[in-house]
C-alpha cells in the first residue's frame, strides 16, 4: 500500500513535470535551441497567476488561459526579434544567448516580485481513496497538466500549424518548398514553448510555493525529462515526465528526499552515456 501511495505521488508529480518540460522539448526539437529562459518563463507564469489571484481575486483557472496567451506573445516576439537571426549558429551561441536573456528576465522578476515563495491556496481539502491520501488541489493540478499536454498533442497532430511545425522539424528546406514560412513557424514554436511554460507555472502556483530561486530547478527538470523522453515529442515528454516523477518519488522514499534530485540527474547522465545521440526516436507526429 505504501508503494501504491508512492506511485500515485509519482504520477501526480510526473504529470506536472511533463507539462513543464513539453514546451522546452518542442523548442529544442524543432529549433535545435536549448532555451535557458524556460525556467524563468515558468516562474513568470506562476507569478502572474499568483498576483492576479492575490491582488485582484481572479480564480487561477480563469487567469491560466490569459497568462498562457500573454506568454505566447512574449515568446513569439523574443524568437522573431532576437533568436531567429542566429538560430542556425552552434549550440554555444544559442545557449549563451538564451542564458543572457534569462539573466535579464530573472533580474527583473527578483526586483519586482522578490524571491519570497508565494503560492495560491485553494483549500479544496483532501481525498482518501482506500488508504491513498491526496490533496484535491494536487489532483486538480495533475488533471490540468494532463489536459494542457493533451491539448498540445491535438494541436500538433490535427492542425495546419502542427503539421507545419512537424514538417519544419523534419526538413527545414523541404518545408520551405511547401510554402511554409520557416521563420514564422520558429516564432510560433517558441511562442508555444513559452505558452506551455506559463501554463505550467500557473498550475505549479496552485500546489507549490513559487520563487525565482526555482528557475534553475525547473530548467534542470526540463533537461532530464527531455533526455529521458526524447526531443520535440509530446508523448515523449509525457513519458519522460512520468518516469522522472515516479523515479524521484521512489528515490525520496528509498534513499531520502534530499537525494531525489540527484537521482534524476544521474539517470539523465546514465541515459546520455548509453545513447550518446540522445533518445530521439524521431517520429513525425509525436
Amino acid at each position: 500500500m505504501a508503494y501504491l501511495q508512492i506511485l500515485v505521488n509519482g504520477l501526480v508529480l510526473g504529470a506536472l513535470y511533463a507539462c513543464l518540460a513539453v514546451g522546452f522539448s518542442l523548442v529544442w526539437g524543432v529549433l535545435n535551441v536549448i532555451n535557458m529562459l524556460h525556467g524563468s518563463l515558468i516562474i513568470l507564469g506562476g507569478y502572474l497567476t499568483f498576483f492576479s489571484w492575490h491582488s485582484y481575486g481572479i480564480n487561477p483557472l480563469v487567469a491560466l488561459p490569459a497568462v498562457a496567451l500573454l506568454l505566447y506573445a512574449i515568446g513569439y516576439l523574443i524568437q522573431l526579434a532576437i533568436i531567429n537571426p542566429i538560430v542556425t549558429q552552434p549550440v554555444l551561441t544559442t545557449l549563451t544567448l538564451t542564458f543572457g536573456l534569462d539573466l535579464i528576465l530573472y533580474n527583473f522578476m527578483t526586483v519586482y516580485y522578490t524571491a519570497t515563495p508565494r503560492r495560491v491556496t485553494l483549500d479544496l481539502g483532501i481525498v482518501d481513496l482506500g488508504g491513498i491520501v491526496m490533496p484535491v488541489d494536487r489532483l486538480l493540478a495533475m488533471g490540468l497538466a494532463l489536459l494542457l499536454t493533451g491539448l498540445l498533442y491535438i494541436v500538433m497532430r490535427g492542425s495546419r500549424i502542427g503539421w507545419a511545425i512537424v514538417a519544419v522539424r523534419m526538413d527545414r528546406d523541404a518545408a520551405a518548398l511547401m510554402g511554409i514560412r520557416v521563420e514564422r513557424i520558429y516564432a510560433i514554436t517558441f511562442g508555444i514553448g513559452a505558452l506551455m511554460a506559463g501554463a505550467a507555472g500557473a498550475v505549479f502556483a496552485m500546489v507549490y510555493p513559487i520563487t525565482t530561486n526555482l528557475t534553475g530547478t525547473f530548467l534542470g527538470k526540463a533537461f532530464v525529462v527531455c533526455v529521458i523522453g526524447g526531443l520535440g515529442s509530446v508523448p515523449g515528454a509525457l513519458a519522460g515526465g512520468l518516469v522522472l516523477g515516479i523515479v524521484e518519488s521512489l528515490a525520496g522514499q528509498l534513499v531520502g528526499p534530499q537525494h531525489a534530485l540527484t537521482v534524476g540527474f544521474v539517470l539523465m547522465l546514465a541515459l546520455l552515456v548509453v545513447r550518446p545521440t540522445g533518445l530521439t526516436g524521431v517520429r513525425g507526429y509525436e
Binding site: 535545435n32 545557449l95 549563451t96 534569462d102 534553475g216 534530499q258 546520455l272 540522445g278
Partner: protein
C-alpha cells in the same frame, strides 16, 4: 614583430600590470587583480576544450568545485597548502580523464547538457555527503597566517602564477601538432579521424587540460577565502560565465581568453558598483550585445572593421 610575438608581449605587459597592483593600488584593486587572474586561468583552461576543440563544455564549475573540496580537505587533513593545491590539480585532471572517456562521445547539445548535468550532480553529491564535506553548511579552511596584506599579496602571486602557467600551456598547444589536431577536430571531426588524428585521445587530453588549472584555482580560492560551500563552488552562473568570457575575447585564440576575462570582470565590477539591483540584467544585456555585434570576440574587432571598410569600398567601386 610578428602577430604572435606581439601577443606574447602584450600578455607579458599585462602580467606585470596585475603583479604591480600592490605597489599602487589599495585592497580593492588587488582583489580585482586576483579575480581577473583567476578568471583568466579558468578561461584559458576552458579554451582548450571549448575554443580549440569546439566542444561546448559547461563543466568548468565542476572542476573548480572539486578542486576546492579536494584542496580544502587535504589541507584540513594537515597537508601543506601547496601540496594540497597540487593534489587538487591532479584530482581535477583525473576526474576529467575519467569523465571525458564517457561524455566526450556526446556531441553538440547533448555534450552541453551532459556537462551541465555533471556540475549539478557534483553539487548535489557534495551537498548530501555531509560526513565528508560538511554538506550544505560548507567547510572552513585554515587561514594563511600573517595579516591581510601578506595574504592578498600571496594569493595575487599564486593566481598570477596559475594564469601564466595556463597561458604557457596554451602557447605550447597552439604551436604544436597537438593544437593542430584539436583545430582539425573542431572543424571536422570525421575528417580529422580520417587523416590519422586519434580523436578520442586528443579530446580527452584537451578535456583534462581544461580541468587541471580549474582544480588549482578551486583549491587556491578555498585557501584564500577560508570557507567553501556547495552552492558557491559548483555555481551554474560561473560555469556559463567562463565560456562567455572566452567568447568575449575570442575563442580558440591565445590572447582572447585573458582579454575576455579582464574585460568581463571589469564590466561586471562596474555594474556591481553602480547598478547593484540590475547587475545581472546588465550582464545579460552584455551577452546579447556580444553575440549580435561581436561574434568573433574583442580580438576580432580590427579584422571585422577592416572587412566592413573593405566592403564599403567595394560597394562604391563600379560593378
Amino acid at each position: 614583430m610578428t602577430a604572435r610575438s606581439w601577443h606574447y608581449f602584450l600578455f607579458g605587459a599585462w602580467v606585470l600590470a596585475l603583479a604591480s597592483t600592490p605597489l599602487w593600488g589599495g585592497n580593492y584593486v588587488i582583489r580585482l587583480a586576483i579575480t581577473i587572474a583567476m578568471y583568466s586561468a579558468l578561461t584559458l583552461s576552458w579554451n582548450f576544450i571549448g575554443g580549440f576543440t569546439g566542444y561546448p563544455s559547461f563543466a568548468t564549475a565542476a572542476f573548480v568545485g572539486l578542486g576546492s573540496y579536494a584542496g580544502a580537505l587535504t589541507q584540513n587533513a594537515g597537508a601543506p597548502m601547496l601540496v594540497a593545491w597540487l593534489i587538487a590539480t591532479i584530482f581535477a585532471g583525473a576526474f576529467a580523464a575519467a569523465l571525458g572517456g564517457i561524455i566526450l562521445r556526446l556531441k553538440g547539445h547533448y555534450f552541453a547538457i551532459g556537462s551541465i548535468g555533471v556540475v549539478e550532480v557534483a553539487r548535489l553529491v557534495t551537498a548530501s555527503w555531509g560526513s565528508l564535506t560538511g554538506g550544505g553548511d560548507g567547510l572552513n579552511v585554515a587561514f594563511l597566517p600573517g595579516g591581510p596584506d601578506v595574504v592578498a599579496r600571496t594569493f595575487l602571486a599564486a593566481m598570477i602564477a596559475i594564469m601564466v602557467a595556463a597561458f604557457a600551456v596554451t602557447v605550447a598547444v597552439d604551436r604544436t601538432r597537438f593544437g593542430f589536431a584539436l583545430r582539425c577536430i573542431q572543424q571536422n571531426e570525421d575528417a580529422a579521424d580520417m587523416v590519422g588524428v586519434n580523436t578520442t585521445r586528443c579530446k580527452i587530453a584537451a578535456f583534462v587540460l581544461s580541468a587541471l588549472f580549474c582544480g588549482t584555482v578551486g583549491a587556491a580560492y578555498a585557501s584564500w577565502t577560508g570557507y567553501i560551500d556547495p552552492n558557491e563552488s559548483f555555481s551554474l552562473l560561473m560555469t556559463i560565465k567562463v565560456p562567455v568570457m572566452c567568447l568575449l575575447g575570442g575563442a580558440g585564440t591565445v590572447l582572447g581568453p585573458p582579454v575576455g576575462a579582464a574585460a568581463f570582470t571589469l564590466l561586471e565590477e562596474f555594474f556591481w558598483a553602480n547598478f547593484l539591483d540590475y547587475n545581472r540584467a546588465i550582464l545579460g544585456a552584455v551577452i546579447v550585445i556580444l553575440i549580435f555585434f561581436l561574434p568573433g570576440g574583442l580580438l576580432n574587432i580590427p579584422r571585422a572593421w577592416s572587412r566592413i571598410a573593405g566592403r564599403r569600398r567595394s560597394r562604391k567601386a563600379p560593378a
